[in-house]
């Protein structure tokens, strides 16, 4: 038996722990050591809960020794949580100055469910402020580095989640995905990132950015661990009325059952393979497609004709929703307040201007503008109509195929500062992920290779509404046939 436990999958760890072959305390200590060792380079963690993690591990050990109550599917598995998800333990800052020091009085539903599954919460991880960004450079706390190349961004907004999983500082992380914020950093950091169907996972306790697009999703080293996590965190929650009452299968069991007999018609959207796509990324994606073809997939060309309008649609809808959601940060009930204001309006204004970073203010202003009197029809209503057209594109494409495959991001990870000067350029890096949120579909990014310069590239699978079972099975089939271990980023 190896002396360290980081680098193992969730299924492996939980099996060993359940069978009393290893103490969860030992597992947790091993990951805490790993964090000590590498997080000074990566800076993924904003809070490290060493004592609490060990305490959870000891309680779990006691429970296993007593052997009376059933042990959960994530027994002893260390999990990190994005700063935007509420936890009673520690702080929930959204990486924003306006929520610095904020302690949530309750746990998000997903956190409750992780704890019920005997997962170990090991700490919280960095992100772009209020999940607005694609590089984690918009954090008010610190910069997080890409474990594969410390000069590059980890992607965003769940950059801390992806970096912490990739650097093997935890096994699973929960992120949130509004326009690609789980999948794009997973792609940049060489791990798996799953965005479930809108409504699959409760948003109770997820600080809202754009409520019609936000969805919590897991990041992990492999497809199976994300599948197991979805079975734990998914399902109807009366506290989020947009969570849907649909059967929630044991995904890992279903995948194992289905993988040998699955038939696949894979759609390649011609709009995803244009000159905007980096040549090296394109080659790696096509290599992956050939692997799927070898496994019996029929490859068909499909068309998503409104793709070029997705970014514009998204930035109207998400900023409009954000400007409404972020109105609650007024310095009265929680968070930061500007002191010495003459009156309440001045207090609101100074609190918000000092508390929010530049990108958040830019989006609040844009959202306020598109919703303001005289502009509503021209922008917001128009965008909702185009959102419908984008959704219909997918419905039509799924007449011809069972799953859509393409790149997660047009490029591999970029360097710090490369896109911070031009917000629009940063927005355009989400071109392949945002249509999925607009259409409420499930999608997963799976690593499919490294570029010449050693940066990971992600392959995106897009599935039908609430059919994560099929989506995950195809992704798993690809993963086991990829024939290449991506293993560890060069951190030692």
């Amino acid at each position: 038996m190896s002396e360290y436990w980081w680098g193992r999958s969730a299924s492996e760890i939980s099996e060993y722990v359940k069978n009393k072959e290893i103490s969860p305390v030992e597992v947790v200590q091993s990951f805490l050591d790993r964090i000590q060792q590498v997080d000074t380079k990566i800076d993924a963690f904003t809070q490290i809960w060493s004592d609490y993690a060990l305490q959870q591990a000891r309680s779990l050990e006691e429970k296993i020794v007593k052997g009376k109550s059933p042990v959960g599917p994530l027994a002893g598995v260390p999990v990190s949580i994005k700063e935007v998800i509420c936890t009673q333990r520690g702080f929930t800052t959204c990486a924003s100055k306006i929520l610095a020091g904020y302690r949530s009085p309750y746990d998000a539903t997903v956190v409750e469910r992780l704890l019920n599954a005997d997962a170990i919460l090991i700490g919280k991880v960095n992100m772009d402020e209020f999940a607005m960004g694609s590089s984690t450079e918009n954090s008010s706390i610190k910069l997080t580095r890409n474990p594969w190349n410390l000069e590059c961004v980890p992607g965003g907004s769940s950059g801390g989640s992806a970096a912490s999983v990739s650097a093997e500082e935890c096994v699973i992380s929960l992120g949130s995905d509004t326009g690609g914020s789980v999948r794009q950093p997973a792609s940049f950091c060489g791990c798996v990132g799953l965005k479930p169907t809108y409504g699959r996972v409760s948003r109770y306790g997820l600080v809202a950015f754009a409520s019609s697009l936000d969805q919590i999703g897991p990041l992990s080293k492999n497809v199976m661990d994300s599948a197991t996590t979805l079975s734990v965190i998914g399902g109807r929650d009366p506290r989020d009325t947009t969570s849907v009452d649909m059967p929630l299968p044991d995904y890992s069991e279903r995948i194992r059952k289905n993988v040998d007999t699955i038939s696949m018609r894979i759609g390649l959207p011609k709009e995803y393979f244009t000159e905007d796509l980096n040549e090296e990324v394109k080659e790696l994606i096509m290599k992956a497609v050939r692997i799927l073809e070898k496994q019996g997939a029929e490859i068909v060309e499909v068309s998503l004709p409104h793709t070029e309008f997705a970014v514009a649609t998204y930035y109207i809808i998400c900023t409009a929703e954000a400007s409404a959601n972020l109105a609650r940060f007024d310095g009265v009930r929680y968070g930061f307040r500007h002191v010495d204001s003459k009156n309440i309006i001045e207090m609101y204004k100074c609190t918000r201007s000092e508390g929010f970073g530049p990108e958040v203010q830019r989006r609040i202003l844009l959202g306020t503008y598109v919703l303001s009197s005289g502009y509503y029809d021209a922008y917001y209503l128009k965008a909702q109509k185009v959102r419908k057209l984008i959704t219909q594109d997918f419905e039509e494409a799924f007449q011809k195929c069972d799953v859509i495959v393409g790149p997660t991001s047009p490029t591999p990870a970029f360097r710090f500062g490369e896109k911070t000067q031009n917000p629009l350029e940063m927005y355009l890096s989400d071109i392949y992920t945002i249509s999925v949120n607009l259409s409420a579909l499930p999608a997963i990014s799976v690593p499919c290779g490294l570029t010449q310069s050693g940066l990971p590239v992600g392959l995106q699978f897009i599935g039908k509404h609430f059919d994560e079972e099929y989506l995950l099975t195809v992704a798993y089939l690809y993963e086991i046939n990829r024939g290449q271990e991506f293993g560890n980023p060069p951190l030692e």
Binding site: Y102, R103, P105, T197, Y198, G199, S212, L213, P238, T241, T242, V244, F309, V311, A312, T313, Y315, I316, S323, A327, G331, V332, R333, Y334, F336, R337, S341, K342, N343, I344, E346, M347, Y348, K349, C350, R352, S353, Q361, R362, I364, L365, L366, T368, Y369, S372, Y379, L381, K382, A383, Q384, K385, V386, R387, K388, L389, T391, P423, L424, Y427, A440
Partner: protein, 100 residues
């Protein structure tokens, strides 16, 4: 080239609506940023959407009802705990009414 879609005065007006305070330099920068972004999103006008139903909800749903029962919630102490200023009973804020 960036069309100047949004003037500095307009930025100040929107900032007022959003309760944000901007200095001159920020207003200049944001007017330029927003003009560029608005110029870009106007791309949507290339599309005819006359007969398209707007997509109001991500997933079609019907009304969701629940029994109107008293359930536990967070206590007063817990809700005040996070506030920047309170007196144990109420959130405290600067003066709301101007009195001579």
């Amino acid at each position: 080239m960036i069309r100047s879609k949004i003037s500095r005065d307009e930025i100040y007006h929107i900032a007022d609506l959003a309760y944000l305070h901007l200095d001159t330099e920020q207003a200049e920068k944001l007017a330029a940023d927003l003009s560029e972004i608005i110029g870009y999103v106007e791309k949507l006008n290339e599309l005819s959407t006359d007969n398209v139903e707007p997509m109001m909800h991500a997933v079609p749903m019907e009304n969701i009802l629940r029994e109107d029962k008293v359930r536990p919630s967070i206590t007063k102490e817990e809700s005040l705990r996070c506030a920047p200023l309170h007196d144990g009973e109420y959130f405290l804020v600067p003066k709301i009414l101007e009195v001579d």
